[in-house]
Symmetry: C2
């Protein structure tokens, strides 16, 4: 079996050097001053106390699955099944620490190729088995939770063996990658051809090509490389109704763009097995720089100006005052006090950090682009603090690890994200902050709510919130569920009659957690159309039960 699949890898993300290893003492002091006493419960080693029910997979189903993929590739051991039980949401992490019920698949099945995926689906239809496609397991919305959805049993269909770069078309700058290829491996395979995908979400180290496609992922460099859905030229799926291949040209008017129906379908309309992707030459030059703007409104106005002028850097990320404050506090390597003094002298009362990163075929081209960007930033009073860009770049994938450390310290820590058109961005941010503050204020302490814009468009932007609060040890899951519900209600405008303030997800997808809010956004008609599409490709309803389109939970 591929090492990558090893169950231990799943937990290599928890800090090895003891709780708090990633938090400097100064940061810890700052945190407790802000959110109050942390939860007192001692850290629980994940999965140590989880009771795993026996597999419900029937013997005939198991035999049929083994006939397709081989006996070694149908796993029912405790560790194998626990390793594909849910994703990486705060609630999932709590469940692995025996807060809340963990949905454990009855088996893990590892097909070798697209044809075996199709055959596995046939078996699952015949034997009434639900199928949860499983890539990197990084969903933060319950997208890979092993719900049965009324089926007799449910398997995690782990796509790790679909790990090939199938073909490269350097003339068209296209590459076909299999669904199970993880971010770093995709880049390594493409680099052999001098190419890159340029898709670097925070989940990059684990997330897969198939998962990116299924969830409409967006990466840190999406301003330059596009969202993942912008990169997809074609898809190949296995469905219970047969193989489905889409994408013959860069653009088409041959009816609706059904690729865009598959992207974001979260395994409910088929198992994505291969993706044809637009690739680019590995950049010859790269540059990261930091800037500081005075206050959120000015920062957002600068982002808008850059997006509307077509002058966004490939990475463009604006932190609000709270997130900037935390960045400065957490990054102990920085001479924070000196920087603060400098900013005060330069007239910056409320520092908002802006990180810009450029990739390019040459330093000359980067310089040409940078010039326009810096000119616009100057109009918005931005102050250059170049090294902040490099500091951010170095820590860009540390978020999940820092979160694990905080979790062990008794902190309720989670993220959520949304997006709106520019005219509604501030109202949306205020509404989410109000909802979260209302739900998480306790003992005189408000939560820390940080926000950044990491994806700006001509017409609007995403808002990404990180929330820190003292954990309510009696009911930590309920504490967050109430806060999340309040935020989702605010975003979706449920009950207001005015429609949503923003989308329920800009790049984390629907999964289980957002399914109740989907109709508010796409209409009951939209949900009906999705259900009709699902009926056409998956009449038995085996595909990822309970995700995207709400079905009753058994």
């Amino acid at each position: 079996m591929n090492d990558i699949l090893d169950h231990r890898l799943r937990h290599s993300w928890t800090p090895e050097a003891g709780a708090g290893a990633h938090l400097p003492p100064k940061a810890l002091r700052w945190l407790t001053a802000r959110i109050g006493s942390l939860g007192e419960q001692a850290p629980i080693s994940p999965d140590s106390a989880v009771v795993v029910p026996d597999s419900r997979l029937g013997e005939p189903a198991r035999a049929a699955l083994e006939a397709v993929v081989g006996a070694d590739e149908v796993l029912t051991g405790r560790g194998d099944r626990l390793g594909r039980s849910g994703g990486l949401s705060y609630l999932d992490l709590l469940r692995h620490r025996h807060h809340g019920e963990l949905d454990v698949p009855d088996a893990v099945v590892l097909p070798a190729d697209p044809e075996q995926v199709r055959q596995v689906l046939d078996v699952c239809v015949t034997h009434d088995v639900g199928v949860v496609p499983f890539g990197g397991g990084t969903s933060v919305v319950g997208g890979v939770n092993a719900l049965r959805g009324g089926k007799s049993s449910v398997i995690a269909l782990d796509l790790a063996r679909l790990d090939r770069l199938v073909s490269v078309d350097p003339v068209s700058r296209l590459a076909v990658l299999q669904a199970g290829v993880r971010g770093p491996e995709a880049e390594r395979l493409l680099a052999e051809h001098g190419l890159t995908l340029g898709h670097v979400p925070q989940s990059f180290e684990r997330a897969t090509i198939g998962g990116y496609a299924a969830t409409r992922s967006a990466g840190q460099a999406s301003s330059g490389y596009g969202r993942f859905d912008d990169m997809v030229a074609g898809v190949r799926l296995a469905t219970p109704a047969g193989e489905w291949t889409l994408g013959v040209a860069p653009a088409s008017a041959a009816g609706p763009d059904l690729r865009q129906l598959v992207l974001g379908s979260e395994g409910a309309l088929g198992v994505i097995t291969e993706v044809t992707l637009r690739v680019r030459p590995v950049p010859e030059a790269e540059r990261f720089e930091g800037f500081v703007l005075d206050g959120w409104e000015r920062g957002a106005a600068a982002m808008r100006a850059l997006a509307q002028a077509g002058d966004l850097a490939d990475v463009t990320r604006l932190s609000d005052v709270d997130e900037s404050e935390v960045s400065l506090s957490l990054n102990a390597g920085w001479k924070t006090a000196a920087l603060r003094r400098y900013l005060t002298v330069r007239g910056i009362a409320e520092p908002c950090l802006l990180v810009l990163g450029w990739h390019g075929s040459s330093e000359r081209r980067i310089s040409a682009r940078r010039k326009e960007t810096v000119r616009i930033l100057g109009e918005h009073g931005a102050i250059a603090v170049k090294p902040l860009g490099e500091t951010w770049r170095k820590g860009r994938f540390h978020g999940p690890r820092q979160r694990d450390a905080l979790l062990d310290l008794g902190v309720c820590v989670e993220t959520l994200e949304t997006a709106a058109h520019w005219s509604g961005v501030h109202r949306l941010r205020d509404a989410v902050r109000t909802a979260l503050t209302g739900a998480l204020t306790a003992g005189g302490h408000e939560p820390v709510i940080m926000c950044h814009i990491s994806h700006a468009y001509e017409t609007g932007a995403s808002l990404y919130f990180t929330v820190l609060a003292a954990r309510e040890d009696g009911d930590p899951a309920g504490q967050w569920q109430r806060a999340k519900s309040a935020a989702c209600a605010a975003i979706s405008g449920a009950g207001t009659g005015h429609g949503p303030l923003g989308t329920i997800s800009h790049h984390h997808a629907v999964g289980v957690d957002h399914a109740d809010y989907l109709a508010e956004e796409i209409g009951e008609l939209g949900v009906g159309v999705l259900a009709a599409a699902k009926q056409a490709v998956d009449p038995a309803g085996i595909l990822n039960p309970g995700k995207l389109i709400r079905t009753a939970r058994p």
Copy 2:
């Protein structure tokens, strides 16, 4: 009634100053030398000899429709119905000249607003009436032909009264336009706010916002402004199952992007009533320039280099040798002979014209962009012949008029288009040319087949063909149908087992003419998914019968 609706306008496109008014004698001589003797039949005044069957609309249906829109807005006169009988394909033009059967709607209904559209659909469900949404009537694929599809009668739902700019959000750079607004009017309405859409297909003068959306239109400046589907932030539809509104944020991971299911749905999934569009400031500066490259392969390589470097001008259009030859011949204002001599001296054996057009917020920004573009063109041996750009710009909407003139002269003249990834572009062009040449060669004369790339992407490009052949007077419709079928078979790779060489349409849509080739491109599963979506929103099947998704013709 709105003047725009007047039946006469429909025919204002035929040349008023007599047949051939737009063709200089030199061009005519060139043409007959190339394609042989022209058809001999004298020009027929459109609609003069068409027998219009009595309206089949039942009295109860008529009364119910009149109750919704008012008695003056349900038209059953000969001219009104003929004016909404089909679009502008060569076959449609022949049908209006009594070659082939014209599908005439039983009535023309003109709702005033989205709510009336919805009510009209209710009436049509109740009374078993098919509904053909009708905008500018510029479809060249049979998209607005009044097929009954087994219904008792069929109406043309003319959206001309949905002519408002509903709202403008200057901060988000969004505008809501109603479906019936035509290209020039959209620009006029937006210009009052200093904004532009920048969408200029050749059908610009007549085509509507709703039609652009329903067909995934692409315009001459799509390299800079994007395809129409790139501009759509939201849509509002009326369906028999109710109102449907989509689009709350610039990007979303809240499931599949259902806007992309509506775009290109050609009236079969609902009647688009309003579209929320990304708009831009009216450019302060504009520049058009011409270049000449030596041969098609070098020209296409230059286009690819520009597209992959991100250095396309907003308008970027490369003609092949034949189209360049015709351009030089038709544009008598040009000192063609001198230009040819100049090009020969500069080493250009096979001139291919490249037109570039830039829009920008300032001359400075245009110059900066132009510099990179010209640098890349230099690497591909391009010679600047600046005035050719301006010449093209002046004649950019003349195509349909020139076609009418050619038609009256006895020429079989039609266009078709496709797209492929770069590595397949030459093979696709060769296959289409071979198919058309085989079908249209007669009496020792081959057709003139011109080709251009007007839409280039990082991964591929569109190919737009214009075909001229001597008309076969005995069966002019059959002559073109055989040629078109041969071209479509070549594009879709039908029967080869290798899949399509290109898309069956890059920006003209499916309509009736391409419906047989859709399954080859999106799979039987794709067609099944579309049919399921249609069933969800239009269970009675009243919407645009026989288009997009093939249904039996009565």
